[in-house]
């Protein structure tokens, strides 16, 4: 069974990697977007799914990564790779400086504090000259979608491999222990503060890299789109829809929801947003534990699965 799953995964990655050779330009475009969203969902999975902290600040990392690339390329005329590193440095610095105080907060308070941080970043960057204030920065265009696609795919594989690796090492176990019972983890010797900050930073690294790739690809960046909170909500929805705290759930969730959303925006264009909202509401009600849980338990429970969920969570 394990071998089968590994083979399937390798095949899936190989097929995905081959898309630019047989797929249309639009499919590649859609792919870049879906892959980057999957990276974001996977990045969020580290802090939200494994560590249990509902971060609304991951769009800050994404924005810092975008601005790292944009500032380096536009203002300093440095190569893309240097910009990516700069973005990651910004994100990690942010994770340590603000993670320390903010990660002491629990539950909704943490969520709201990170939400506010994203707002503050929009407001601050709108006033920073080197970041183009609220007008934004225009990057030099690079007409090479297959490259962006493969970069995104590599990043997603790296993020997923990292998460898989986390599940088999002490650090990952510590994060799960924090999620399950933080006080309990502390008295068993888990350095909760350090672990949380590290998880926040790690999750930030992937988000920042995704932001960097996206900025160079879309060639335009302004504070509202870089620190977009609805992007953060999207990554949470995707991770939660797929199954938070699982290795493949967030990726699956990102692919499925990106597909649904893309079909909606091209087929029922004027009501796409409405349907997306309805899908979210219905999904939360009937499968609050995500696709991964659905797949695991649907085999045994069948359609009763949905009724069981309802019964378990209502009052």
């Amino acid at each position: 069974m394990k071998a089968l799953v590994s083979i399937l995964l390798v095949v899936a990655v190989a097929v995905l990697a081959a898309v630019p050779w047989f797929g249309s330009d639009v499919l590649v475009q859609f792919g870049i977007n879906a892959l980057l969203l999957a990276v974001l969902a996977q990045g969020w999975n580290i802090i939200g799914g494994y560590t249990g902290y509902a971060s609304f600040g991951n769009s800050v990392f994404y924005g810092l990564g975008s601005y790292g690339v944009a500032i380096a390329m536009v203002q300093w005329e440095l190569p893309f790779a240097v910009g990516m590193i700069f973005g990651v440095v910004l994100a990690v610095a942010f994770a340590f400086l603000l993670g320390l105080p903010v990660l002491r907060l629990k539950g909704h308070y943490f969520a709201i504090a990170t939400l506010a941080l994203a707002q503050v970043m929009i407001a601050i960057v709108s006033n920073i000259g080197i970041a183009g204030q609220n007008i934004g920065l225009v990057l030099p265009p690079l007409n090479n979608d297959p490259l962006f696609y493969e970069l995104s795919l590599i990043l997603l594989v790296a993020a997923t491999a990292t998460v898989f690796w986390l599940t088999r090492i002490r650090f990952g176990f510590g994060l799960i222990a924090i999620r399950e019972n933080e006080e309990g983890a502390a008295v068993m010797g888990v350095n909760t503060t350090l672990y949380k900050v590290l998880a926040f930073a790690l999750s930030g690294v992937f988000s920042a890299l995704a932001g960097g790739i996206h900025a160079y690809w879309i060639t335009f960046l302004d504070p509202a789109s870089a620190f977009d909170i609805s992007l953060n909500v999207k990554m949470i929805i995707m991770a939660v829809f797929g199954g938070p705290g699982t290795v493949l759930g967030p990726v699956l969730g990102a692919f499925v929801l990106s597909g649904v959303s893309e079909v909606l925006s091209s087929e029922v264009t004027s009501a796409a947003g409405l349907f997306f909202g309805l899908v979210v509401v219905v999904a939360v009600i009937f499968m609050p534990r995500g696709l991964a849980d659905l797949m695991r338990r649907f085999r045994t429970s069948g359609w009763r699965y949905f009724a069981e969920n309802l019964r378990a969570h209502r009052i």
Binding site: R170, F173, I176, A177, N181, A186, V187, M188, G189, V190
Partner: protein, 250 residues
């Protein structure tokens, strides 16, 4: 027994006070726990027993006073560092890692506990399995922790703490809610723990259970220490009787 009592105390609590917004939960309490000793702490509900455990394990900072472990003050150390020095605790309100299997719950202790723990997952799970065998939970290894019944959870708490390879074990009401047979089993487990050289501080509400287990008893009442000594002497102390029986005394 006397020989053991002479050695330097493993845990020394000096004039510790903890206040919560006007309420004094623990008031100027001092005592020692000696190497290899089993010290019972009793007292009525609200006497400050659980607070005391939290102060020692580091989940609560004391308002005043000092706590020393093996002669060094640990009062400024965070909980995880105290755990790594060798202080293990169980929780009265049992809070396992609900989503993890019973085995992995215990493995967390082996991975992080005393001295920083075992870094390899496989070895940690091996150690965890041993602890489960020790407390008699082996057959539940693969179940989710939140699917365990009450009595089994008490044992899980013990196994988790033991997997940390602690030098001191703080047990917060591990016998509450158990029947006679189960209490006897736990007493047996704790005695075997002590045979490994681990010092134990047992907090208990039920006097009978603790009397046979403890080398020494300490009584808390309204956050203050009102007695400390041989179990029989302490239990016949009129102040203790009053505290426990309260109004019924008349």
């Amino acid at each position: 027994m006397n020989a053991i009592l002479e050695i330097t105390p493993i845990l020394e609590i000096t004039n510790v006070t903890r206040r919560f917004a006007g309420l004094v939960a623990v008031n100027d309490v001092s005592f020692t726990l000696k190497q290899g000793e089993i010290l019972g702490v009793i007292g009525p509900n609200g006497a400050g027993k659980t607070t005391l455990v939290s102060l020692i394990s580091g989940t609560l900072p004391p308002t005043l006073g000092d706590i020393a472990f093996e002669g060094h003050s640990i009062v400024k150390l965070p909980a995880y560092q105290r755990a790594r020095l060798g202080i293990g605790r169980t929780f009265q309100i049992m809070r396992p890692f609900p989503g993890l299997s019973v085995l992995d719950n215990v493995a967390v202790g082996a991975l992080f506990g005393h001295g920083g723990g075992e870094s390899e997952l496989a070895k940690a799970r091996e150690q965890a399995r041993e602890q489960l065998r020790f407390v008699g939970l082996e057959k539940f290894s693969d179940q989710r922790a939140d699917e365990l019944g009450g009595p089994s959870r008490k044992r899980l708490e013990l196994a988790k703490a033991l997997a940390m390879q602690p030098k001191v074990l703080l047990c917060d009401e591990v016998m509450a809610g158990l029947n006679h047979v189960e209490i006897d089993e736990v007493i047996d487990v704790l005695k075997r723990v002590r045979e490994r050289g681990i010092s134990i501080l047992v907090i208990e509400h039920v006097i009978k259970a603790i009397k046979s287990l403890s080398d020494r008893l300490l009584v808390l009442h309204h956050g203050e220490k009102i007695a400390d000594g041989e179990p029989d002497t302490v239990l016949s102390n009129p102040q203790v009787v009053e505290a426990y029986l309260g109004r019924k005394r008349a």
